[in-house]
Every structure is written in C-alpha cells, then in structure tokens.
C-alpha cells in the first residue's frame, strides 16, 4: 500500500494509470433506494434512528435527491443519486490538517479513518455535502453486528467517512487479477450500489480507458457533471434524463 501511496507528480501523469469513475444515467434511475441499502450493507454504514435522522445526523453515503419541477398538475419529479464525486481537484483534501483524506493514484478520493481526528473541515469544504460524520458510536444490537462486512472497518465515533467507491472491492479485483497475471477487465469492479441497481442506472469503470463502458457513456452528449462550474473535476458523470444518446 505504501507503494501505491507514494507517488510523484510525474508518475501521476502516467497515461496508463486508471481513473475510476461512475456514470449515472438519470434516465434510468427510478429512485428505488436499492443503492442506498446496498451501500449500508456493504460498507457497514450505521443506522441512526428516527430521532437522529430528524436532526440531520443520518449517514447515507449515497442519497437520492428528489427535485420537483413545475406545479400541479404539470408537476414532475426527478431523481438524482448523489455520492462522493471523487473530484480530481477535491476541495476537501487540502484542508485536512492530518492528511486523513488524499487522492489515490487511481483517482479515488480516499478517506483514512484511522488518521481522521474529526475537524469536519473537509465536510465544510465539500460543495456536494457527501461527507458524513460519525455523530455517535455506531450501534448494532446483537446479533445485528454479524451482518458487518469484515472487509470494511466499523468506524469510531467522531470521524468523517464517505463513499469509497467500494475500494475493498476494487482492491480485491486488482489483487486477484494481479495474482492470475491478467488485466482488470471492464465491468469487473462493481461497487455495491452499481451491483444492486435494478435499472442499471449506475455504471462503474475506468474513465481513462477509452474502451470502457463508463468512458464511452461519459462521452455521451447527455453527459454533465454536478456543479461543474466549481472546477472540482468530479469523477462522477451524470447522463441527463429524458433524452436519447443519439
């Protein structure tokens, strides 16, 4: 891991390096919350209960924003899943005093739980408000703790966590591919949300690979990025709803 972490600026510019990214087809998203629950299950995201949820203390790593357009009877609602955008120029990263969040060479905005001391500065700096804080000790009444994914740590109270693009799955696939001496194939890595999404609104892949499904979709004329004008260079690309690609 240390090798993966210590990367010079020159190495970073290596063209062959992956940039993991996600394409979210808003035309397919039905707002069904499968990704939300899948994420809770995969990443041991705690549940906070009604009282704390009402105080905006809930901890979803991915949320489906619902926006109304128009008034009754010509009213429409649109869904937009929002998760960590894994910005290339992430505003959350430089503000952390202890380097608890940084950019991996593969384009992930990584959060080092063990390093975090809970200044919540990254959360304030994030324009997408996707960083969630452990407001309380996580509570898993017995035997619910047996549902926990052993590949993902359970976070302590007082630290920030957020979507990791299921880095544990990425690593597993990469290690397995390395072990058998082959390249990671497109679509082989599927974060829990992508895996579960019934209408396949979420597509994950290497944006630097022009052949990958994600990068092909990212070139669609429906493509846009959330708050692109801020210049954060997100790795999550949305495809506008209500239109075709052609």
């Amino acid at each position: 891991m240390a090798k993966a972490v210590r990367v010079s600026a020159k190495e970073k510019q290596d063209e062959n390096r992956r940039r993991w990214g996600m394409v979210i087809d808003l035309d397919r998203c039905t707002g069904c919350q499968a990704c939300v629950v899948a994420c809770h299950a995969e990443n041991n995201v705690p549940v906070v209960g009604e009282q704390e949820a009402a105080r905006s203390h809930s901890m979803h790593w991915i949320r489906i924003e619902r926006y109304w357009e128009g008034e009754y009877p010509n009213v429409k609602a649109r869904f937009m899943p929002v998760l960590c955008q894994h910005c290339g120029e992430a505003p959350c990263e430089p503000v952390c005093p202890v380097f608890a969040t940084y950019h991996t060479p593969e384009g992930l905005n990584a959060q080092v739980y063990n390093r975090c001391i809970g200044t919540r500065y990254c959360g304030s700096a994030c324009p997408y408000k996707v960083r969630v804080f452990n407001w309380f000790r996580p509570d898993f009444p017995e035997p619910l703790e047996q549902q926990l994914n052993p590949d993902v740590s359970v976070r302590q109270r007082g630290i920030i966590e957020k979507c990791s693009f299921c880095v544990q799955r990425i690593r597993r696939v990469e290690l397995d591919a390395d072990a058998s001496g082959r390249e990671v194939e497109d679509g082989e890595v599927q974060p829990a949300c992508v895996q579960s999404c019934p209408p396949s609104a979420l597509i994950f892949g290497d944006l630097n690979d022009p052949e990958s499904e994600a990068s092909q979709l990212a070139r669609s004329r429906r493509a846009f990025r959330l708050l692109d004008f801020l210049g954060t260079d997100p790795a999550v690309i949305y495809l506008k709803g209500g239109e075709t690609n052609v």
Binding site: G31, Q33, E50, Y72, T244
Partner: protein
Amino acid sequence: MGKEISRRTFLKVAAGAATASGLIPQVRRIALEPFVRPPEEELPGRATWFASTCRQCPAGCGIIVRVINGRARKIEGNPNHPLNHGKLCARGQAGLQVLYNPDRLHNAVRQSGGRGSRIFSPIPWSEALDELTAALQSLRDPQALAVLAGQPSDHLYTILASFLEVVGAPPAVIFDLHTALDGRAECASLSSRWFGEHQLPIYDLAHAQVVFSFGANLLETWMSPVAQSVAYGQMRQSRLGGRGVFVQFEPRLSATGASADEWIPVPPGTEGIIALALGRIIVEENLGRAGKHSDHAHLYRNVSVADAAQACGLPVEELRRLAHLFAETDRPLAIPGGQLTGHTNSKQAMDAVMALNVIMRRLGRHGGVFTPQPVPAERFASPAPTSNLTEILDLVERMRSGDIEIFLIHGANPIYELPAWVGFKEALEEVPLVISFSPFVDETAVQADLILPDHTYLEGWGYQVVSPGADRPIISGQQPVTQPLHDTRSTADILLSLASRLGGAVARALPWEDEAGFLEESSAQLHDNSISTYDARTPAGFWSLWRQHGGWWSKRAIKREPEAVGMPKGAMAVPAAAFQGDKGTYPFHLMPYSSLTLSDGRGANQPWLQEAPDPMTTARWNTWIEINPESARSLAIKDNDMVRVTSAYGSLQAAVVVYPGIRPDTVAIPTGQGHSDYGRFATTRGANVMDLLTPSPAEQGNKFAFCATRVRIEKVGQVKPLARLEDLDGEGRESIR
C-alpha cells in the same frame, strides 16, 4: 452457466468463491462446527457464496449470499438468474436484518400469561409437537382446522395443501397485504378470465415503445419490481439507442410515476373509464399500424369520449393526444394493476385496460403481453393461489361463530394487515387454539397460544415458482446459507413430523423425512429435462447443481402468446367507482399505498429499510399523509403539522407532507408503520392506514376495495418533524428561487 452470463459476472462470482466453480451447493446437514475447525468448504476470512431465493416479497428473485466464517454478510442478486439478472432491490438487500434481527424468537414458546399477555415461556420442540399432535387428534371435525398463510414458499404450500387435503381440512387461505395492494388476486382473475390461465400475464416492458401504466407501481412493489426495473432500464436507454415513452395514470404521483415521462393525475377510480375512452378514439379514428379495428368496434359501442372526458376531468383533446401517442407506435403496451384494483369497478377497469393491448394486437408480440410457460413438471405446475376477500371474510365468519378449533398462521400478520373492519382480532379470540409460526412476535403472534418460530428464509429450504415470470419458466431454489441462529424449526418439517406422528393415510401422503428430502425428490422431476439450463447424469448430481445455481430454469426464453379466449364479447362499460363516506363530511379520497421500503409493514423491523428514505417524500421512520399544496393551504396546514385523519370507520394521526404530486381531492398514506408489536425498530412509530378503511357494501362485490374510502382532515395543533432527508427550506426545487 448459460451464455447469458457475461464473463464479468462470472468472474465476480468466481472471485468470491473458494472453489473453482462459481457457486457452492449447501450441504444438506451441517453439524455445528466451531470456528477453529471449519467445515471443509469454509476457509477463515475467505468468502463463500451460496445461491438462494429472496423471500422479502413473492417475486422470487435469485440471490447469492456472501458467507464468511459461516455467517451471511451480504446479499446480492444472482447474476445468472433470468428474473433479476443479478440485481436486487432495497428490501432484498435488507434480508440480513431479518436473519440477524435482534427481536427474533430464539425458540418455541408458549404464551404463558394468556394470549396478548406477551409473557412467553420457552417450551421444548417435542412438547410443542406433542401438543399439536394431540390437538389434531382430538379434533372432532377436520373442518375445524383452519390455516392462514401469507404467500408461503411453494414447497411449503405444496406440503401444506397435501396435509390439509389428507386430514380433510379446508384449503389454506392465502393472504398478505403486499400482494393485496398489488391486486394480485385481481390480476390472476383477469388472466384466468381472459386467457384461461392461472398464471399471471407477463408484460414485455423492455421492448415496448410506449407504456401506459394504469395504477401499477411497477418500479416499486408491484409484482416483480426488480425484473420490471431491469426491463425499464432497457426500455429507457437501450444500448441501440431509442427510448421508450412511459405514461402513468394515477391520482398520486408514485415513484414509478415520477420516472414516467408523463403523469396523468386521473380522479380515483376513473382509470378504466380513460382506458375505454382511449380505445374508443383508437377504434373510431382507426389509429395505428395494427390494421383495421373494426373487429373490436363493438367493444366500444357504448363509450362516449365526451362523458369519459368529463368523468376524468381531462379535455377531449388531451384524451385524443394520449390515444395518438399510444396507437401511433409499433409497440405500445398497457398495464393494469396496483391501486387500480383497489376500486369497486376494478374488474371492468382491468378489462378496459387489457382491451387496449388486444385492439393494438399486442398479445404475444415483441414488447407486448405474454403468458408464462409452465414448469414442465407436475410438482411445480400449480403454485400457490391468492385468496380473495370473500374467502377471508368467510374464514373470519367461521372463526367468529366458533367453528374453528385450531387456527394455524404462517407468514402473515392479518391483525395488522387486514382492515380493522374485518374484525380479525375479535374473531381470533373465539378460536380455542391458535398457533403461529412467525419468527417474530408480531401483532398476530401476540394473540397466539403457541409460537413455533419458522427459520428465516436465509436459514431454510424451499423453492418458488416465479410468477409473474420472466421470459421463461423459472424455479428459484432456496437453501440455508447459514446455520440457524436460534432453536427454530422449519414449518414444513413440523408438518412432516406431524404427518408421521398422525400416521396412517397422512403419513403415507407425506412420506418425506424432511423438507430437504421433499425438495430433492421434487427436483428429480426435472432431471433429464431437455430445456434445463444444466444437466447431470444422476438425480443427485442434478440436485447438487440445482442448489449451486439457486434453482432451475430453462436455458432459452420461451414466451407463449396468450389467446384472448375469454375477452368480453359485448360492449364494455366501466361503472363509476363507489366510495365509502359522504363527500360533504369526508372530502378527500384516501389512497393507501405500499411503502417502497417497508412494503406492507413486514420491512418495519429492519433498520436499513426504516432508514432508507421514501424516494418521493424522503421521509423515514414514520407515517405521513400526503396532501396537495392547494388543499393544504385551504386547510391552513403546513409540512410536519399533525393532522387527524377520520373516515367513516376510524381515525388516526399522521404528520403532513405537502406533496405537489397528488390530486387536490386525494390524500395518500403509506403502509408499513403503526406496529404495536414486531420488535424494537417497528413499534412506537406511525399509524396503520388499514385502521381507516371503510367496508364496501356487499352488493358492490366483496372486493378488497382499499382505495374506496373517503376521509376528512383536521389539524390537531401539534407539530411532528418528520425525519426527512431533504431540507424543507429548499422547497424541493433544484433551482434556487
């Protein structure tokens, strides 16, 4: 592994598995082994995947469960399964919290303080079985044994049906609220009425160009939402370009309606009238490329478009536009279901919608309507039916009059799920012996003498004949993925032990040692079948592959064209829907709808589902009532105000969600909350909308007319901030003021 499995899904599965083949069959009996002496398939820290079937709703999606060190850790869709193609909905993902629920019963219990006392004392299984056997033996009349089950796994249904038949008891009544709100019984009745089939029709959503859905929330809970969502994704953005159009007709904008291109807010109960009017316009103007409509003109003889336009509050021009939109395409599709079936005119309305498919020649066509191919084996040919309200009312009546001496209940929670007016709880009190098989102490189990908890579905065996199916016959196999957590026992095994204890004809009719033996024998019926996706030399090998694949299915798509043998012959008419409650006193239509996450309330004990926001209101953990902004303004109520909702039958309190997507004359309340029992996560929150429903008079046909109640709304002066994910100051709009 069929060709449909892409390489990546195969790799993904293989990567997690300890052995070279993708999925590992669960061995039939696993001795309890400590962690340091792992069973041979278990490597510490290495994941094993088991294929099984999701039982969170009756759809029967295939799942694979990641098991590490003997404990289930994650549920995912089975990528090989032809129904859900590796996808899974929120409820399916939350299945782990059924298994690991902290409020499960740990063993068989007797309610020692009397029914409703909630004082339980554990009893050994032998004693429970003795008692049950004795009770059955002392039964004077086998007709005094009644069983109510909620969409049981098909293997349990088969065993149960044989058991009841051989002891001479009436067949089990099958009811649960989830399928009732889907209108499953109505849809089945439509299928048998029109096509002479007892299986539900299949709508080829993926390939339709224009989809008109009349009340079916097919992306949320209706029938097989994952399969329909997968198809919806293909309809929207097929990789070849082209994009289907989707129009939803319903009084309240559901999440499905929100995904539609157009939402037509029809007055409750007029969906069928609109369908008729559309048909009339199509026939009259001879729209579309499907040939002449003269064959069907007689159906619409008595339809007046102008009257229909008035009834549904839409201009005639709008109806014409919709008719053109529907007809002037190659592959239109009309789907009836869901809350359409909650009206008194549902039969005629369903006919009217299905007729649109017929006049556009959509039966058996690409992107049209199909009937499923039955599984080619006798054992699987007759999956569990769904009872209608008449059968339930009949059961209640017999209970009330003291005709029932033993009442067994499995997988259903009628005290919570049935409308309060049915009086199930009161009727139950007349039954001398009530035995529940619920793994949880729910509202009905609390009224039982004995609770003999079944395994949860991740610990138990079973199979489910998928219906409505995908494009081929499918049996989703269910197998234990982990040791039973507690001292629970499979209900099917209990029936088999009962049979052997009773002896005689009963034992002969149910000769299996246990349910796994029954399953193995059943699977053998498909051994050597030519359409099977896998085959083995021996039945034992076949049974092993069955468990490895998570069931059985055909290797290729088999779609059957339905024959509309029973379609209406004469002119169709849809009567005005009747509503209970005076319009002056009760100005609003009440629309109970199935919660996307909690479904009919069975999800309420799973914190992941409680915490997952409702997609439209983003509310969590409670009950709310949706009111049009205009109506809210006229009543001077705001978001989060508590209101009392009163119908002619009952009343409840709920917090208000001012909801732009609902008709001003309608209010909507989701199901699922308001539990008085059912564990720590479910209780003490919200209200049960079923308490409000008002009975329809018998002359309107004993339908479960859940949309036919009228209510009034009064402010109670309290404020209850709902746990909404969305911030209300944003007013739900993306653009800022």
